[in-house]
Amino acid sequence: MDVSRKYENFLEFRRQEKSNFLWISRTLRPKVANVQEAPCSPSLHKDEVLQSPKIQELLDKLSSVQNVPKGHLEKQVKEILDEIGYNKSLKVIRWLGLVLTKICLRVSSGIYINVNKVQQVRSKMGNCPVIFVPSHRSYADFILMSYMCFTYEIVIPAIAAGMDFHGMWGMGTMLRDTGAFFMRRSYNDDSVYWTVFKQYIYQLVTRGDLPIEFFIEGTRSRSNKSLAPKFGLISMILKPYFFAQVPDILFVPISISYDRVLEENLFAYELLGVPKPKETTSGFFKSLKILKERFGSIFFHIGEPISSKEFFGDSIDRSIHATASLHKQDLTDQEKSVIPPLAFEILHRQQQGFVITIFNLVALVLNNTYTNKKKLPTILELKQQLLWLRSIIESLGAYIHCDDLEKEIRECLVVHRNIIHFNSNNEVSLVETQIHQGKVNIQKLKAHQLSDQTMTYSVPFVALQIYVNPTLFYLFDLAVLFTVIQKEGALNKEDLWVRYHFLRSLYAMEFVFPPQKEHITYESALENAIAVNALILAGDTYIVGRNVELQEILHSSFKPFLLSYSTVFLVLQHLPLACEQKTILANVQRILEDAINNKESFVHPYTLNLDTLSNCINSLCAMSVLKKARRENAVSFEINKTELDDVKTRLDLYIPTLCINEDLLVNLQLQNKL
């Protein structure tokens, strides 16, 4: 564990002070990111975008091609800009700050941050664009980010937000007033919109003085694991750097960890395929009932800033853009190719920054208990296991927040009382609640309709898994190595690498890591595996180690992912050469639901989750087993069966036996013949 990580609970200051109101209304001298001689107001930004040669030339062209007056088109652009552009109202910010303070004091036991890094980042601000890149686990992320900035006198950033907020009555304006700008999310090919949007970003980066904040994962991760980074917005942000319109761009990775994620229940449903309710304001107010709940602590970890200049170094020659007008130019292929490694690096620093809580470990232990049908632990037994597990996870590099273990366990039982409790034997167990779905709109289902019985059984497991997942960042590599060696026996380093590389690539979307660091990751995984005795190095081959308890945990935590993937393969094998995404997902869920309910052997309900299934499909696309096609609103795939067979054989080596109802597969074929 990195002992240099020190956190300050800044909510405590609010608890201590006499008047939150005085604090909220204090004079602010916030630090800006990129000092401008003549700073732009929000509306000047929009004007300058409209007047930019890029937009003006586009409008000239459109006006002559479509034979419409330019003024008319300008009006359209203005509307687009009004939809996009952020605003800034200090009054709104202060009021929100006050409300938020009151809420947090009520539901949260602390908001922690590594202040020394905040100060370091502050001191680096002033001379070039600064981009805050927080992890995205909850809607609360960006409100809390702004709150954190407000607390530490950093100017509130311009925040890239999805259009779903824009639609919410009142919310849209309020967020806009606190610096949000809006980006249409759904795939659309309105070229004017995107040209304007890109120019707006260009404007904010080159002429703005606020930090910009965006979520590199694109959307909230429902699984509490990092999502693969998106490259769109970061490319737009980097363009002015490549064009030398700014001297450098600083990316600040920020990890926000929640003891309890606000949306956990919702996420559990969504993972299982129940469509996410559209965000509405009334829905938001309904969520005000959260005021009665407890959410434990929240942790901000500000990561080491990445200077794009340093990161790209000599791999980029920015002078190549010197011989023509910049607005006529686009990023070169070389420039595009260096963006993903940066995006992955930012994400990786987020991953390293997350704080692991005691509940994450509790979840891991319980998950293992259920998977292996072991006796549920009493609080003392739990404590014993946690002590052991904690030292292992810490030795793998995690930072675990825990002052007093027993107190933390008890706190878990309060904060997470909707997931775990003491059963009648005074053992810690999962909470079961009957679920009645009522009438489900089949149209809105993303996949298969799971029965009430399945839902009732599965939701607690899925909710628990959401808290297991953060630990897998530390365990996955070991799990892969162990699984391979366990099934294949002794292997030397090169042979083991081949397997590792295969599984790592197959699970690249599930357990995201920087491809450019695969070799280093492999090396350190081997070292770790030996250090914790999951493997032993005998001569020049690796064999199974003696840490049986850990191996059991590795096994049980990897197993659901193995099952999900292999079931996807199985279904694909039985599907025709071209099929829709929904067909794949539904059939996989159907088969797994059956296996789960057939309680002969334990099949983890998390295997049903659509996040993993889609990750699998996306990986297969990346490996050219599947080819994606977009037809009339539906995503469909072409299957390369020979490639599929090959991958499946390689994976099945490691798959635990699964009781499959063969009839379902026969049905599947029949169904397709029809």
Binding site: N127, T206, A244, R318, H321
Partner: protein, 603 residues
Amino acid sequence: MPPPPSQNSKIKEPIFVKSVIPKSRQQLLKWNGWGYTDSQFVVKVDEHKNIQVYFTGKRYPIGEVTLPHLAQWAIDKLDLDLTQPPKRSQPPPTESQYPESKIPESILLKLKNFSISYSIDIVDRVVRAHGQTLHDIYTLRNSVFERIPDVVVWPTGHDEVVKLVTLCNDNNIVLIPYGGGTAVSGAVECPTSEQRPIISLDTSQMNKILWLDRDNLVACCESGIVGQDLERELGRMGFTTGHEPDSYEFSSLGGWVATRASGMKKNTYGNIEDLVVHVKMVTANGVLEKGCQVPRLSCGPDFNHVILGSEGSLGVVTEVVIKIRPLPQCRKYGSVVFPNFETGVKYMREVAKRRLQPASIRLMDNDQFKFGMILKPEESYFGIILDGIKKFYITKIKGFDVDQMCVMTLLFEGDETDVKLSEKKLYELAKQFGAIPAGETNGERGYMLTFVIAYIRDLGLQYDVVAESFETSVPWDRAVTLVKNVKQVVAQECQRLGITHYIINSRVTQTYDAGCVIYFYLGFNHRDLGDPVDLHNRLETKARDEILASGGSISHHHGVGKLRRKWYPKTVSNVGLSLYLSIKRELDPKNIFATNNLVQSKL
């Protein structure tokens, strides 16, 4: 304005110009620093530990008055420890410090036979071993050059140069032309690994004005004439070339041609390439020149442009026919204050767009603006940033931020009416940009300071501070970002190198239709940080990389020399590079002009 003294349209007899600068330069000029020996910044600490800085001599208006604010500024900004005894330079070079001259007796004999004056005296040789880069001056003060010329020769005209070049070519001896030695690109330095004997060809004794043609307004001059001599002599006859690089007191006509120099008043008179009508260059292969003396020529590629910027690597420029103009009736200064740099640049852009430029128009950034104030002799602390009432008006009424505002200096030359009109247009336009005219004296001071600032480095060197300037040209739309980028890169790099006290400031010194020229000053305290020249080179390299990345050029007028060779191929393309090399091979097959400028020669 007196009428020109002679009414003959051509002055046929050569004018033997008595140069201000003696043949033995070190008698008048510092051997280890910039400019005249009698002119320098000095620090006096009195018994009460009061520190006073002033400038010696009466050559410049700033001379012999104390500058009460300079010391504190230097302490704050650059952490100068003025209470320490200054670091003195080593004494002038002695024979024992350098290897003996490699020049064979036989060659010296030939020189005697040609009656060409020469010297193998160590000081003469060391004085011509360098230009004015930081490396040069630092080496002079503290150590020894790796390589110096083996002999200095002083030809007195074209024919003697032809003899010298033939002699060198026949005997495989290296020849390096030396004009005023003001190069800031490493151009005059001897290539360190050169094994052959090196002759430094000092052009100072070929400085006649051979003839002057009033009908066509041209004068034929020998290349060794230095700017101030040329202007003085022409001025006597009622003329000027109008070519006034900041170094014009000491730099030579041949040097200007060889480096593609640019004068402050180029808007009215043109840059050196606009001024040259005819030029002779003695190469190892014969004399390159045109067969006519015409205003313009359509006749294939213009070989004048092979000569211009050749940096001594292709031959010796001996005679130049240069345009002259009648002296202007009226010369007037002006200045304008802008709320910030960006606005100033926008204004300049507009001036260039409308082609309203006066003879000179320059914009100092905020740091330079403040520095200009620091150099004021006024005692009053209040008066230092701005004069009281003006300060009130500018900061309180107009709302300018003292930490952002900038000053632009203007120089008008021409007929009185033209100057008036030009002033009117420029000041009116300035108003539209929210700027405020700030008077003639400020403008005049600005131009005077340019000459004085060159002296300040020598003061810094005594207190662990090194400084250097570099410049570039850039399209208009990228000027402001270039400045910002370079400043930020320098700041980042200083931090990396552990440099805590530094200055990096800039000004826009020239405007063109398509862009402008940016001039940077960089200085830093290197106490306890290791070799300052090396540190500086690292900083300047980073800065130049950033300049190129930001759309700027390798150089607007300082040239490539040895310092900027790294960026030459990229600037001219590979084809351009081999084109240069073929020219080099053709004109100088034995590489006797082994200056190693532009390209590291492998010939």
